[in-house]
Each structure stands twice: as C-alpha cells, then as structure tokens.
C-alpha cells in the first residue's frame, strides 16, 4: 500500500482509503454506509491527533494546501462528519429520529474541499 499521509500520521494510513473523501456528500454517504464499529475505530484513531493534524495543515495559507496533504485534510473533515455519531448518537450511523437524509439536498454537497 502506498503512503498517502505524512509520516507522522502513518497510524492513520489504514483509514485513508475509506475516509479521505473530497466532498461533504461523499463523507455523508460513507458515514451512512459504515457500521458503528467502523465509525468508532476511525474516531478513536484520529481524534487524539486532531490538533497536530490541524497545525500541519495550517503551515499552509488557506486555499493553498499542497496536493499531498489533501487526503489528511479530507480525513479531518470526515471526523467532523462522524464525530456527532460517536459522541452524541450512541454510535449509530444515522441521525436518530430524523428526516430521510437522501431527500435532504446540500447545495454545496459536491464541492471539492481544498
């Protein structure tokens, strides 16, 4: 497996294929199609490293992130997508007692975050 993350984040490498997703729409779909165990495993791996990840990204002016750091950035945004499920929704991959997510359109959902 080729490395997609900087060396100091190599422990996150096993999660990159699944969670380095470029848009809110893709991250949301991935969360919906994950098991509670998969959400928890990713959360437990990345949460303790979040401050270090953000300071790594912030060595670059906003909007000028080198391409090799895109996967790391996208994984951090995947944490933003899944964290409420681990922290608030008892691990469920759905928002409890909610409207059908498939019918809820995010107008920015296909924008690539870079």
């Amino acid at each position: 497996m080729s490395n997609t993350l900087p060396n100091q984040f190599s422990s996150l490498e096993p999660f990159s294929a699944k969670w380095a997703l470029s848009t809110e729409g893709k991250r949301q779909q991935e969360r919906i199609h994950s098991t509670p165990d998969e959400l928890k495993a990713f959360y437990d791996a990345i949460m303790p490293q979040m401050e270090e990840i953000l300071s790594t990204l912030d060595q670059h002016p906003y909007g000028q992130l080198p391409e090799e750091l895109h996967p790391l950035y996208w994984m951090s945004l995947s944490l933003a997508e899944i964290a409420p499920h681990v922290e608030l929704y008892k691990g469920s991959n759905h928002v409890p007692f909610s409207f059908e997510e498939a019918r809820f359109e995010a107008e920015h959902g296909n924008q690539i975050n870079i």
Binding site: E24, M47, M50, E51, L54, S55, L57, D58, H60, Y62, L65, Y73, S76, L77, L79, A80, E81, A83, P84, E87, L88, Y89, V95, P96, F97, S98, F99, E101, R103, F104, E105, A106, E107, H108, N113
Partner: protein, 402 residues
C-alpha cells in the same frame, strides 16, 4: 390557577386571545388557493441575496411554482437588480432555460438574456433589444412595446424581494416597517460562507414554518444533537404589524465532547455557546442576556431570519400545493482564514444540518395526522405566541376582498 400570572405573552398581547387554532387552514385545498391569491401574490417575498449575483450581468432565475412563473433577477450595468417573468414576448418560451431546477444561475458580460428559441435578446432593464428578422414582422409589432413583463423587485439589507402584485404601491421598506428597523445594520454581507440545504416536504407550508417558529421543541426534538440544551423561554417578544420577533434563549448544561470542544476552541460557529456582543443591532437582546442564543424573526408570510454573534441563518417555505412545500435552510458564517477554522466550521455546520434533519422529521407525520380529520384544532401554549400571531395575520389577509 391564576393563569394571568404565568402567561407572560398573553398578558403583553391580549388581543391575540387564547383560543385553540383551527386546523382547517393547514389541510383545506380551498384555503390554500386563497392563500396563494391573497397572500403569496400580494406580499413581498425574499428570493435571493445580492451576493448571489455579484457582478454586472449576473442573473438568477427562481421558480415561483405557486404562481406558475419564474423570476429572472438580473444585475444591470447600472448595478441595479431588476426582476422579470421568465417568459419571452414572442411565443412565450422561457427566455432562460432553467437547467438548475428551482434555481438557475448565469452570467452575461453584455448584461442581456437571449431566448434560445428564436434568439430574441433582452437587456437588464427588460427591454427587447434585438429580434432576428425583425423586418419580417407585421407593422403592428413594435419592439419597444415588447420587453419582458416586469416583477416589482426591491432590495433591503442585501436581501432581494419580489412582489407579484404590480398594481400595489407599498414599498418593501414600508411593508417591513419596524421589523425592518429591528434587523437593520447587522453585518449580513460579512458572513460570506453559505451552507444551503433544501428539500420538498409533503406538508402544508405552515406546518413546516410553525415547526421552526418556536423553541418549545428544543428539549425533545434536539435531544440527539443538542443534549442538555434547555430553553429558558422566549424573551423580548415584539409584534411588528404582520411580522414578529423574539429572542431564543438557551442554557447549555452539557460539557462538550472532544470534537465539539476542539471546534468551540477554534470558532464561534455553533449556535449554543455564549459569545460576547459585537455586532447585534441595539434593539436585539436589549438587556444583554447571557443566555441569548439568537433572534428569531418571522417576516410574513414565509421567511424566518435568525441573527446571532458571528452567525445568521434563514428558513424559507415555498408553497407548492396544499400538502407540498419546498423548504430552504441557509447557514451563513464568516469566511475562514485557515484550515483549522474550516474544520471547526464544518463541524458546526454538520451538527446544524443534523439538527435540521431532526426538525424536518416531524412535518410529514404531522400533515398525515392532520389529514385524518380526527382533530379540528391545535392548542398553542404561551411560548408558541409567534405561531398564534401568524394565524391572526393570515386570517386578516384571507378576510380581505380579493
């Protein structure tokens, strides 16, 4: 029980009374038709923001399906934004093809729109400026008399409104009255990162509207996304003619979990955390309450504007039929300057999206249950005063002569 002691808003606004509210307006097709004619075709409706069409020649086309039309909003070379029906003067084709569905955006360097059918060209003042083979039309055809049909269009604080009643003379500013004064001066345009969500709900527009116009539901509906957030009740309720406003005050007893704590340490993009006052207009939260979360302002008939420190958001409800409504939720945040801020912003937006998924969850069930006909009225408590006022205003409009 001495009710007078406990019902604060009943005491302040006795003219609204305390009777149950009839359910009929939420299910009757006849009343829906009257609402379209007497309310939606007669009042000022928000259809956009000036930042959506920032450059000369930029345009937005928005469907107004309740009126079987679409409005072209175009910024002219004079920077004025004007509105027109999207209907060609030739044989009535849509001038701009609405590829975007409900909303279509485009840009023309020459600040014109051209009908794809036979190439008729209109400028941003609606004038018909070019007709191919014009000399083959009969003498009774005059280009000068065949511009686009105008729709009254005015801008208030960067919000673009239209009014389909071209015989009326009340300006947008007059229509908003003291509601406009109350919300004036907030730096709407400075919150340039916009997160928009929409859906079509199988419910009456008022069922969707009302669910967002009270804070009584917070502890039950949002037990998932905002646990241990308690409503401390509405404050500073004011009725401004057809419009109304209140401060939604919330107490957050939850100690934040790790991701929320990290987000909060970077940005103030969340709604339920205390932020120092820097930008609110002076009449909003006049007593500087610590538990002020956001101002909830209802602009009749279908727009909710909420302003807070460093964040504002809107809900809008477009009638598409007696039991069908397009909901649009928009969350506005300051432009971010770093990846950490962008991450924190995304966390706050995700949580807000989830809260809106919780809000919209009840609406279709409510409509289905109302359609059973098993209940004739709904009961509103004192904290649902904004809904009560809404039904009073609606009744006033429906009682008008057509």
């Amino acid at each position: 029980m001495n009710r007078k002691l406990t019902l604060r808003w009943d005491e302040k606004f006795p003219e609204l009374g305390g009777s149950p509210i009839p359910i009929d307006p939420c299910i009757s097709p006849e009343i829906y038709d009257q609402e379209v004619e007497k309310v939606f075709k007669k009042t000022w409706l928000k259809v956009g923001r000036v930042e959506e069409i920032p450059k000369k020649g930029d345009y937005k086309v928005k469907k107004l399906s309740f009126a079987n039309t679409s409005v072209i909003l175009i910024r002219g070379k004079d920077d004025q934004i004007r509105g027109f029906h999207n209907t060609c003067s030739h044989r009535g084709n849509k001038v701009v093809v609405e590829t975007g569905g409900e909303e279509t955006f485009g840009s023309s360097r020459a600040a014109v729109v051209t009908c794809r059918f036979h190439g008729w060209v209109y400028d941003a003042k609606g004038d018909l400026v070019n007709v191919p083979e014009e000399n083959k039309f009969h003498p009774c055809f005059a280009r000068e008399e065949n511009g686009l049909a105008k729709i009254r269009t005015e801008v208030w604080e960067g919000f673009i409104f239209v009014n389909l009643d071209d015989t009326a003379t009340e300006s947008l500013e007059q229509y908003l009255g003291d509601m406009g004064n109350h919300l004036k001066g907030y730096p709407y345009e400075q919150m340039a990162d916009v997160f928009s969500y929409n859906t079509v709900l199988e419910c009456n527009w008022k069922v969707a509207h009302d669910a967002f116009a009270e804070a009584y539901h917070v502890e039950t509906i949002h037990a998932g996304s905002f646990p241990n957030v308690f409503g401390s009740g509405l404050q500073d309720v004011e009725l401004f003619g057809d419009h109304r406003t209140a401060a939604v005050c919330l107490t957050n007893n939850a100690s934040p979990k790790p991701a929320a704590a990290l987000s909060n340490s970077i940005t103030g993009a969340s709604l339920v955390n205390f932020k120092a006052r820097t930008m609110l207009p002076e009449n909003v939260n006049p007593s500087n309450r610590d538990d002020f979360a956001f101002e909830l302002s209802v602009l009749f008939p279908n727009l909710l504007i909420h302003i807070s420190e460093g964040v504002w958001f809107t809900h809008q409800f477009w009638p598409m039929g007696p039991n069908k409504t397009r909901w649009e939720g928009k969350y506005y945040l300051p432009k971010v300057n770093s990846y950490a801020e962008r991450w924190a912003q995304q966390f706050a937006v995700t949580l807000q999206r989830n809260a809106w998924l919780e809000d919209t969850a009840t609406m279709e069930d409510t409509q289905a249950a109302l359609l059973s006909g098993s209940k004739k009225v709904m009961h509103l408590q004192d904290e649902e005063i904004l809904l009560r006022h809404g039904y009073h205003v609606l009744e006033k409009y429906l009682n008008k002569e057509a």
